[in-house]
Symmetry: C2
Subunit: 161 residues, 2 copies
């Protein structure tokens, strides 16, 4: 058994993840956000979620301070948003496809949008695990889920019977 | 906007997640384990992962006490294991498809197996967020990733160009 970085990376390349976009409003009033492949449900009662981020992320200073985030669950129609929110931070909110939602949060159209209050930030080395409680939300168009695997976006396919 | 349980559940039904099986050895020496759809990478350097569980889970008393877990990243060939490790806890280790790995951990064949040391357990209401550091691992056969969506197992499909 080899405890090396290549093995860790290759193991996670073989894994798949759902795709979300998490946004917030900075203390200076600017919209910030990023694409996450770590969003997970923690509990339904009360409705809790977790997501992970690096302390070096451009959005971290805002997530470290803010009370609220908007969590966008993405479908296949939202793949351009997923790509944009993972690229140059200066270009993420230049379009007119978002509007101001509850608590001033920037909200994009998505198959699901959850408004959440941050309950806990756990620092771990140069990263943080964020726990948030869902307090509001809307459903958009029903879409096939967006899935990330092998550094590419795709979707879900049922297994053959 | 409706902050209700149905909306939260419907939003996550529209989401997809990778599938893993997490195992450990209880203080009494028994193998324990469960299927998780919350496993996420936290960092590559050092190699860290997170997963979530309910404090009511049959495996929690072991995860609360043990130092090490085996994290199995599942592919489509492992779907029967995913189903079994999500069903009756008394039947999960009755087969002969597992063996003892590092630290006495029960290890199943899977497309990726990571041996990890638990670094942190964050209680949140009736749940826990677990942070673990990967210290060892093996790769199995290359497989298409197992994906969970709409209460069913499936896999990844690329988007059409």
């Amino acid at each position: 058994m080899l405890p090396d970085l290549d093995l860790f990376k290759e193991a996670f390349r073989r894994y798949a993840a759902g795709v979300s976009v998490i946004t917030a409003r900075s203390a200076a009033g600017e919209p910030v956000g990023f694409t996450a492949t770590s969003l997970a449900s923690l509990a339904a009662v009360p409705p809790l979620v977790t997501f992970n981020m690096a302390l070096s992320a451009t959005s971290w200073p805002t997530i470290a301070e803010t009370d609220h985030v908007a969590i966008h669950l993405l479908g296949t129609e939202d793949v351009a948003l997923a790509s944009r929110m993972a690229a140059n931070a200066a270009h993420r909110f230049l379009g007119e496809d978002w509007q101001e939602g509850p608590h001033g949060l920037p909200v994009f159209p998505a198959t699901g949008v959850l408004i959440a209050q941050i309950e806990h930030r756990q620092p771990v080395h140069n990263n943080a695990v964020v726990v948030a409680r869902v307090i509001d939300g809307t459903l958009g168009e029903q879409e096939a889920p967006l899935v990330y695997h092998e550094r590419a976006f795709g979707s879900f396919r049922p297994l053959p019977n």
